[in-house]
Each structure stands twice: as structure tokens, then as C-alpha cells.
């Protein structure tokens, strides 16, 4: 299960997608919308994706995990659109016979998502909004120089 969805994520379904008789461990990561970030209060978030490519890239992460951890099974669902505080943005479940693989593969998945899956987040605060450049917030789009008008 590798999907981009527009409604709430059912975590149980994501977990069920990776469980089988040889699963000893399932590690799940749930990323949700947090109210406070560095003292600033978020009102809500908007996620946008290049959907077809994002889905492919989630599948690619699944394949990368399979190469590194042959017995692991991965499921990833990312939500897009407007998300309120406490809403789940992403759920990742990885099953494996043993826990070390499940933890490591799960962590690998979220890091890869934040690195290369074409999904973007816009934060809305009481006094403004901003597309978030990357998770470390070292790149802000306020710095890029896209003109308001153009004529290629």
C-alpha cells in the first residue's frame, strides 16, 4: 500500500497491510500536525503533491527497503489538502521478522520521504503563511526570485 489520499488516514489499515504470519515486529510512524513550532502557533497546514510522481516515489522507497531488508514489508500513506492540528499527515508501517530491521527500515522511509518525495507543506499562522522549504527550514521560498508575471 503506497498512496496519496485526500481524506483521513486509517492507521489500522496501513498496519494491516504489512502484517503476516512471519511478522514479529511492526514499527509504525505517524506524522501529525503539531500546534507549536519554535514558539509559533500553527492554525492549519496545507499539503500539496505532484501526485503521480509522489506515489511512484513512495513505491520506490518500498523497493529500496526490500533491497536492504529482504524480509520487510512496507506501507506508506500520505495525506494532502488542508490538515488541522492533530490530523495525521503520514503513516508508515514496516513489518519484519525481527525488530531491528523494522525500526531501521521505518526510519529510512521517513527520511527518504523528507528528502525526495514531491510533497510540499504550507504553514498557516495567525499572522501569515509560508511554503516550507525543507524540514530543517534551511530553505525558505521567500528567498527564491520568481517574478509575479512572466512570458516564456
Amino acid at each position: 500500500m503506497f498512496d496519496i489520499v485526500k481524506g483521513p488516514i486509517d492507521v489500522s489499515k496501513v498496519i494491516d497491510a504489512v502484517a503476516d504470519r512471519n511478522t514479529g515486529a511492526i514499527v509504525t510512524f505517524i506524522g501529525s500536525v503539531r500546534e507549536m513550532t519554535k514558539g509559533k502557533k500553527t492554525l492549519y497546514l496545507e499539503y500539496e503533491a505532484y501526485e503521480s510522481m509522489a506515489k511512484k516515489k513512495l513505491e520506490q522507497i518500498g523497493s529500496e527497503i526490500k533491497t536492504q531488508f529482504p524480509d520487510a514489508k512496507t506501507a506508506i500513506v500520505h495525506r494532502i489538502g488542508r490538515l488541522e492540528i492533530t490530523d495525521i499527515a503520514v503513516a508508515i508501517a514496516v513489518s519484519a521478522p525481527h525488530r531491528d530491521d523494522a525500526y531501521r527500515a521505518n526510519r529510512y522511509a521517513i527520511e527518504r520521504i523528507k528528502e525526495m518525495v514531491p510533497i510540499w507543506k504550507k504553514e498557516h499562522w495567525e499572522n501569515g503563511e509560508k511554503w516550507i522549504g525543507n524540514q530543517q527550514e534551511t530553505v525558505s521560498y521567500e528567498k527564491t526570485g520568481v517574478p509575479k508575471e512572466f512570458g516564456l
Binding site: M116, W120, V139, Y141, T144, G145, V146, K148, L152
Partner: protein, 77 residues
């Protein structure tokens, strides 16, 4: 004709979700240079370019009918 998809702040600031470039063939590097020259991307841009939903390198060739996308640093998760 090469279609270039825009997302996130690029889409919002240009107020459209795609632009078209009237060329039959060019490299990714040439596209990047053209976008820079025309003022659509800053000089040292961290925007990646995808061709047909795969990340592309500057030497890769874009052909008529290909779908290109500008991919600013992502912030999913």
C-alpha cells in the same frame, strides 16, 4: 512542445500550474539556464527537475511531449 509543471510556491507565485516551452529538444541543463535567464528560477537554485516523473540530471535530454516538473525542496512527512 515541452510541458513544465509547477507546484507549491512556484505555482502560487506564477498563478498557474504549468507553463509550456516551444522547443522540440533540449537538455535539462539548457532548460534550467533558460528558466534562470528568464527570471523564473534564481541563479543557484535548489529546485530539482523531473522528466516524466523521474529526477533528471543536467545532461539528460528532454524531448517533445515529455512532462517536466520543477521540484522545489520537498517538505512532506
Amino acid at each position: 512542445m515541452i510541458k513544465v509543471l509547477l507546484f507549491a510556491h512556484l505555482k502560487e507565485q506564477l498563478n498557474r500550474s504549468e507553463i509550456t516551452i516551444d522547443r522540440n529538444e533540449m537538455t535539462v541543463g539548457e532548460l534550467r539556464a533558460k528558466l534562470g535567464k528568464d527570471g523564473f528560477l534564481p541563479q543557484a537554485s535548489s529546485v530539482m527537475i523531473a522528466v516524466n516523473e523521474e529526477f533528471a540530471q543536467d545532461e539528460d535530454i528532454i524531448r517533445d511531449g515529455d512532462v517536466v516538473a520543477l521540484i522545489p525542496p520537498v517538505s512532506g512527512g
